[in-house]
């Protein structure tokens, strides 16, 4: 421990070992994964154009600071947040892959399956408390345009707001392209295809590791 070059070389070795085990080896294991036929469908597939734009809105608003996209194979998550646990294959075409680490809001791995209505999503983005009582999610009014109703007839695209929204008479709220794209992205988040490494599961107990498929414990 008296010679800086030796310390430097030893540290280089440690860094190389850490990098090889936790970056290079996983890259060899599943870095070249491809889509496969699952239940007769090719999975995963790249998102459509509008959903791709929505992913950019999700990224730029930092939604992943509150929402994960990683359903676990345990009783706490299934079926509340998904039909099966999330796996690496679900993110194959994601760039960036916004897995999320902390859940201030619910997991979104299967939100497209849980909530299919465009209107619900748009209202939720405009003012979450309108659809989820006491929600702690902030509203995103800048994804919408407030404008005067022209000709006395509201636009077909306008949000159908309840009186509790407190919108002034003669005005309407129109979702911008960003809001529509974000909704499309959220609707595209689904884990409803059974995979070999993560079959559609039905939890049978409250046990932590209780993700079970047909009575058999799922592999984690």
């Amino acid at each position: 421990m008296k010679h800086p070059p030796l310390i430097f070389l030893a540290m280089l070795l440690i860094m190389a070992i850490g990098w090889t085990s936790l970056v290079a080896t996983p890259q060899r294991q599943f870095g070249n994964q491809e889509s496969e036929l699952q239940d007769g469908q090719l999975y995963p597939v790249a998102r459509s154009g509008l959903a791709n734009q929505g992913r950019e809105v999700y990224r730029s608003q930092g939604c992943y600071y509150c929402h994960s996209q990683a359903a676990q194979g345990n009783a706490a998550d299934l079926p509340q947040f998904g039909k099966r646990r999330s796996v690496a294959a679900d993110f194959l075409f994601e760039s960036p892959a916004m897995v999320g680490a902390i859940r201030v809001g619910p997991d979104l791995a299967n939100i497209g399956e849980r909530q299919k209505s465009d209107e619900w999503h748009l209202l939720h983005l405009y003012k979450p408390q309108l659809v989820v009582t006491g929600s702690l999610m902030p509203s995103y009014p800048f994804l919408f345009e407030k404008r005067k109703i022209s000709g006395g007839v509201p636009s077909a695209q306008a949000l159908n707001l309840p009186p509790s929204a407190g919108l002034e008479k003669g005005f309407e709220i129109i979702p911008l392209q960003e809001a529509r794209a974000l909704v499309e992205y959220l609707k595209s988040l689904r884990t409803d295809i059974s995979l070999l490494e993560a079959p559609i599961a039905t939890p049978t107990t409250n046990n932590p590791a209780a993700g079970k498929v047909n009575g058999k414990a799922t592999e984690k």
Binding site: M11, P26, F30, C63, Y65, M98, A101
Partner: protein, 476 residues
Amino acid sequence: MMTQTEEKITFASMPQDAQIKSALVPCMLPLFVLGVVSLAAGSILALVASIKMHAPGVLSGFEIFSYGRIRAAHSILFTFGFVVPMALCVSYWILAHLGKVLPAGRPVIFLGTVLWTLGLLSGTAGVLCGDLTGFEFYELPRYSAAIFAISFISLSVPAFLTLIRRNVRELYVAHWFILGGLFWTAWILCSGLVLLGTHSLRGVMQSLSSFWLGNNLTVVAAGSFGVAALLYFIPKQSRRPLYSYQLAAFGFWMFFAFGSGSGIPKTAPLPSWISGLSSVCTGLFLLATLSIFINLWMTWQDSKTSQPYTVFFKVSAFFMLIGSAFSTVIALARTGYPLDFTFMPLAAASFWNSGFLGFALLGAFYTMMNEIAPHTGITLRWSKWHFWIALAGVLLIALGHALGGLVQSGKLSGSGNFSEVTRSVVPFMGISTLGQNLFALGNLVLLVCLTRLLLQSGKRQSAAFITWICERRGNR
């Protein structure tokens, strides 16, 4: 073998302490200003983010202040604005003093500081305008990552040169950690640029790399600078040698060997061997922090002398151990609802970042400023206020998150409804917000302290300049 005359000549040619200090001031002052301003700005953003956790309507009409963006901006300001610049100051100080040598490449350090500030401004502005990366563990836009990588080279090369040119050839324990920190930071900044900046990885490999990079940056690289500060200042201020060289060597190798593998959440959609390996590393990393803590504890425990800033370092050492213990519990506990998803990791991060790194670097800042400008007495007065306010702040932040996380995990392990459970932890978020208030207030105290120091120093410099002009005129 040196003769006595040669030794005397060598010793006489070494720069004196006062010379070293006056040579360090121009290198360190811009980095100090950057660090203190970033810390104050970052803690205000953290406060706003914390308020939004229980009052979502606050500033919700402003896109620039959306929760995700201010969290990202806070993370950049804290890590790249406060921790790295302050850590570099500590490195220059320790390397120059232990080596009895003037700091090398001072103009290069200044250039590096300017570039680093540019990287920080572009990164913070970028994320506030929506250019987030998608990786909360390593949130750094590509352009600022490139600027940081280049500027870190110009900031670290002078540190290496100072080490090489040292007059006292002995290599101390603090040297090891500084060497490790410099090397690790450079590696992480460069590999982050290659792995995430070039989009060369696909899918979940990007997330895995971001976990690995983020953990290595905050825990290993920044942590090693923090440990270096503790290992240098505690023995110096206690006026005792470090308790055990062997224990320090053990702690050093354990710190880097297992720290680099820790930090990958077990909830990530990755093969289980990866999170399993990482959990084991996190557990073994606790041994590293424990051995460092024991070494420091044994060093200071019987010391009769103590300086006013030693308390910063002692508290920092405690927070290092607690932060590491929290991370181990999160990684190894088998609960029905994983602790990783709760507020518990935020408690561990508060202990490590604001507690351990914050107090170690702040203690070093006050010590260095007091040695540079002892006549003012400003740091002595203000540091007491700062210490108590920041300590209460960090404890409340961590307490709120830890209790909230435990309640979340307990209720969601059963059949709790997610939204109801989240609402039930709002009071705990209130505790954290109170802590954020105090921590931000403490950092504003620091900002005021630095401003007063600079103003006084400016007045003295101006007075000296005016006297010099008058004398010249008188001579004529």
